[in-house]
């Protein structure tokens, strides 16, 4: 069993299928990545650098945008990813195009 899974070639994150310790080296298909910090089971690890504002891609589609610069191997979750949808808290600041 792989320790992590990449769903689409367009993805810039993988999903950990078991808890990953900091420093754990992974090979997922052709991709090699070292966990920069502990990644809980089911959580996401960055496959490459994702700059603040860039889309975070899983299933080949955007799941939101980086709210901070994300280093390769970093834990990707609510602390560094912002949703683009249902953001009533930002109403008036941004509007979503159809």
């Amino acid at each position: 069993m792989n320790a992590a899974i990449i769903i689409s070639v367009a993805d810039n994150v993988a999903t950990a299928l078991e808890p990953l310790d900091a420093g754990r080296r992974l090979r997922i298909g052709d991709v090699q990545i070292t966990a920069a910090e502990a990644i809980p089971r089911g959580h996401k690890i960055a496959l490459r650098a994702i700059r603040a504002g860039e889309p975070v891609v899983k299933y080949g589609s955007s799941i939101g945008s980086a709210s901070a610069d994300i280093a390769p191997g970093a834990h990707v979750h609510t602390h560094n990813v912002a949703s683009a949808r249902g953001r009533g808290d930002l109403a008036g600041q941004t509007s979503r195009e159809e």
């Binding site: 069993m1 792989n2 899974i5 769903i7 999903t15 950990a16 299928l17 809980p40 089971r41 089911g42 959580h43 996401k44 975070v56 899983k58 299933y59 589609s61 955007s62 799941i63 939101g64 990707v76 979750h77 609510t78 990813v81 912002a82 949703s83 683009a84 949808r85 249902g86 953001r87 009533g88 808290d89 930002l90 109403a91 979503r96 159809e98």
Partner: protein
């Protein structure tokens, strides 16, 4: 008629096919719920009550949604006969619910609490009728029916990372297979389409279906935004976030897999409205599990395939709900609530096709009468979606 996908169902006078033969006991209003539950319990497990929180103090579309949902259950093919328990002064009209059942060819009776003269007399009268209907229901036999007669509800709840990676793609393959056979699939939970609507819209058979889907998703998003809050307060749920889901887009992209990979979107319908076309129909329901399942069963779904990562007990009063998990630990820790473990697909121990084959075989068995975990445990959750406050 019989093939590998055929099941033993109940052919109804209106041409629809049921997978259960319940005697439905419907309270018109919350005030009649206790009597209805006692009447249904007297003929358990064939008796099924629909305790609900409204039926009075409602206006406009909210009133219609309550009435129409109850009426949809009285016509449902999993129901063989109906008892309406009324109080006597409420808005939901008992006679209309009884007529709805009779129009579908089902025997229907009304017991009025005020008319009978109190809880004791009304309960006794209801039990007397229920026993006669249960005796008649027990004599009805099942017959072979084609899979094309199935309307399958697909639902996920208590999602974690395994839902989008394992159980939802497995159920999606079952949805594809059922639609290939001429059957119907219904997907609800509009909030959990948010972020994946473009993928479903691309599969619409008509521009009107695609437009209606986008309009419904945008309306739900606007309703959430009108509160001035981040939808992340509830979507994904706190448990979803602990399980690794970061945003509603991520949850939606994983969630919509369960509606199939190649099913075509043929229709978008309102809450509890009939699912009438073969293919994939999206229903306008909230994400909350019980309200969503209640609506899709109201639309005619006879069976629910319910995926879960964290495990959840939800059932329905008249439709079997089959629980499928891709999380091996949940399959063990929530064993009594779990019907099928598909965690092998993430451990490279089973192919998606093989897992889908097991789920389809279980779907046929359950449609033919095998009880689900939720049925064995007596889980009969029921909640009608509300559009407005109570007055």
């Amino acid at each position: 008629m019989k093939s590998g996908s055929a099941f033993l169902g109940y052919a109804r006078p209106d041409g629809r096919i049921g997978v259960r033969n319940h005697v439905l006991v419907v309270p018109t209003v919350i005030c009649a719920a206790v009597v209805a539950e006692r009447v249904a319990a007297s003929i358990a497990p064939i008796g099924a009550a629909l305790p609900h929180l409204a039926g009075c103090g409602q206006l406009g579309p909210d009133m219609s949604m309550t009435h129409d949902t109850l009426a949809a259950y009285t016509r449902h093919p999993n129901v063989g006969a109906v008892i309406v328990v009324a109080l006597g002064c409420e808005q939901v009209v008992a006679q209309q619910l009884a007529e709805s059942a009779r129009a579908a060819g089902k025997p229907a009776h009304i017991v009025s609490i005020q008319g009978e003269g109190g809880t004791v007399r009304a309960t006794a009268r209801g039990i007397e009728i229920a026993r006669e209907l249960a005796d008649a229901a027990a004599r009805v036999e099942r017959a072979w029916c084609p899979a094309s007669a199935l309307v399958l509800s697909v639902k996920c709840g208590g999602s974690d990372y395994t839902s989008g990676l394992a159980s939802n793609p497995v159920v999606g393959r079952v949805a594809d297979q059922l639609v290939d056979l001429g059957g119907s699939v219904v997907l609800g939970e509009i909030a959990e389409i948010m972020g994946a609507e473009h993928l479903l819209a691309e599969r619409a058979t008509t521009p009107a279906a695609a437009t209606r889907l986008l309009r419904v998703v945008n309306r739900v998003e606007a309703e959430a935004m009108a509160l001035g809050l981040d939808i992340r307060g509830t979507q994904p749920s706190p448990g979803n976030i602990r399980g690794g889901l970061t945003t509603i887009e991520e949850k939606s992209l994983g969630a919509t897999h369960k509606a199939g990979e190649r099913t075509r979107l043929v229709d978008v319908v309102s809450y509890a409205a009939p699912v009438s076309k073969p293919g994939l129909t999206v229903m306008d329901t909230p994400g909350l599990d019980v309200e969503s399942v209640t609506g899709m069963v109201g639309g005619g779904a006879q069976v629910v395939l319910f995926t879960t990562g964290l495990g959840t007990p939800t059932g329905n009063p008249i439709a079997p709900v089959i629980k499928i998990t891709g999380n091996a630990r949940t399959a063990s820790t929530m064993a009594d609530n779990t019907d099928i473990d598909v965690s092998g697909v993430l451990a490279d121990a089973e192919s998606f096709e093989a897992a889908a084959g097991r789920v389809f075989a279980e779907l046929v068995e359950v449609a033919s009468g095998r009880p689900t975990a939720a049925e064995r445990l007596g889980h009969r959750e029921f909640a009608i979606h509300r559009r407005n406050p109570t007055f």
